[in-house]
């Protein structure tokens, strides 16, 4: 399965990655290589194999419903580029 440049652009957009015009051919080739490997894996007969949700054969341990965290807003907001009235500020996003 080969990938063309427009698909590379779409995936880059979904992942919020900037891929320049010059890079896109090479990126398309590299992803195509990966897809070829996946095609090869797809050819294995897995009819009798249960899908695996996790490589470890153990189950999740559960946590008691208790509030264990305290308010760390001041420290955490010190990490942010911009805040106001307790809010994190980000470039405007309107749907």
């Amino acid at each position: 399965m080969a990938l063309d440049k427009s698909e590379v652009e779409k995936i880059a957009h979904l992942a919020r990655l900037r891929v320049s015009e010059a890079e896109s051919d090479e990126v398309a080739n590299r992803i195509t290589d990966i897809l070829t490997l996946i095609d090869q894996m797809q050819s294995v007969d897995t009819d009798s194999v249960e899908p695996l949700a996790h490589p470890l054969d153990v189950v999740q341990r559960l946590r008691k419903d208790k509030v264990t965290e305290t308010d760390q807003r001041e420290k955490l907001q010190a990490l942010a580029p911009d805040t106001q009235d307790g809010l994190f500020l980000v470039p405007v996003v309107i749907e």
Binding site: A53, V59, Q60, L62, Q77, G86, F88, V92
Partner: protein, 476 residues
Amino acid sequence: MEWETVIGLEVHVSLSTKSKLFSGSDTKFGSEPNTQANIFDLALPGTLPVFNEEALRMAVRFGLAIGAEIGKRSVFDRKNYFYPDLPKGYQITQLDFPTVGKGSLNVTLDDGREKKIGVTRAHIEENAGKSLHEEFSGMSGIDLNRAGVPLLEIVSEPEITSADEAVAYLKKLHTIIRYLDISDAIMALGSMRCDVNISIRPIGETELGTRTEIKNINSFRFVEKAIHTEVLRQQEILEDGGRIIQETRRYDSERDETSSMRSKEVANDYRYFPEPDLLPIEIDDDYIEAVRSELPELPDAKKTRFCTEYKLSDYDASVLVSTREMAEYFETVAQEGGDAKIASNWVTGDLQALLNKSNLEISESPIEAGRLASLIARIKDNTISGKIAKTVFETMIDNPATVDEIIEEKGLKQVTDSGEIKNLVEEVIANNPDQVQQFKDGKEQVIGYLVGQAMQLSKGKANPGQVNTLLRDKMK
């Protein structure tokens, strides 16, 4: 052309756990922004999710209440999209192995018809934060207190065929959730939200039409109006030979119309994959049976019991079980007051009117169940008439005295003494010779007038039954 409507509902309910789904942050509503958002909720590198067992128990509780298959093995997945109120860049949800599988709800429609509506599944997922688009010097403000609060997304089968059915389904869902005490489910506060999928097709057609999804409707009434509006819009397009575009729309309640929303992602490509940071969750039959044994009596069962045990009408019983609090209040009044029918009339009548007028929940009622029960007991044993009881009831609202004290203090005790009633009756006969003659001539309905006169004379305290009998006796 005749059309039929096909509706499926997706309802998000905030589970009322104390802490978040994957972190120990508080979930309290209405706190200062970002005071309940910690390193995991902010997706700082190196943090990992730890699953809250109470969210699982609540989801299983819901599943059992709707007779659903319970997933003994649930798996979490990542749903990827970029939005600033979702710091991780993905939402942890359940795709192929949800905790709650197929179940169903019985709803009663306005015309009394019963309908069973299927629930496809209900899965556990985390809520996103909140974006505020007001003026922050050209920026958007992000509050992550809500990020990570557990949600149960309940997906119905596309078996709903009208706005009325949709509202009946939502109300039933709301009642069950409140009975189970797993969420406040207040639509106005967003702890219950509804997305509506709608398509129409010519009657007789078996293929589904192209659907649109109306997102985040926040009241029962708007769900009803949004459906009516969207169905009409689709009909007009199709009847003009047009085509419906599959898209997400929003409902504007002020203009009563739906409009297209730009989607969050190109073609909603969420690129789901199993969440590597969480292991599958496994539960066994013992766990499920333990949760089942803690289920409260649910509204349908309660209604049936009220009809048989208290001989109530279907209608009265369904009003009383509409909330668990009202049903419990009624049972106390019925048992302590000694008459279920009178109790039902007072709870659904005068008490409900009082609560509506002062905009109170039954749990905040100025008259507690025990006091209303003593009032019913005094009607039942003929100490006071039903009419006088209304006066006592009015007094009880601001007066903390007992029912007996109020009756005593205001001298409201019903006159059952035959001597006193005889005096009353004789006075009425003496004052109304014309009416007495009419009665004697066979005009039966005049008795009502005469009884009324006697009651007025006694200031409502005479026992009307006794007055009636004695009047007839004297006029023979």
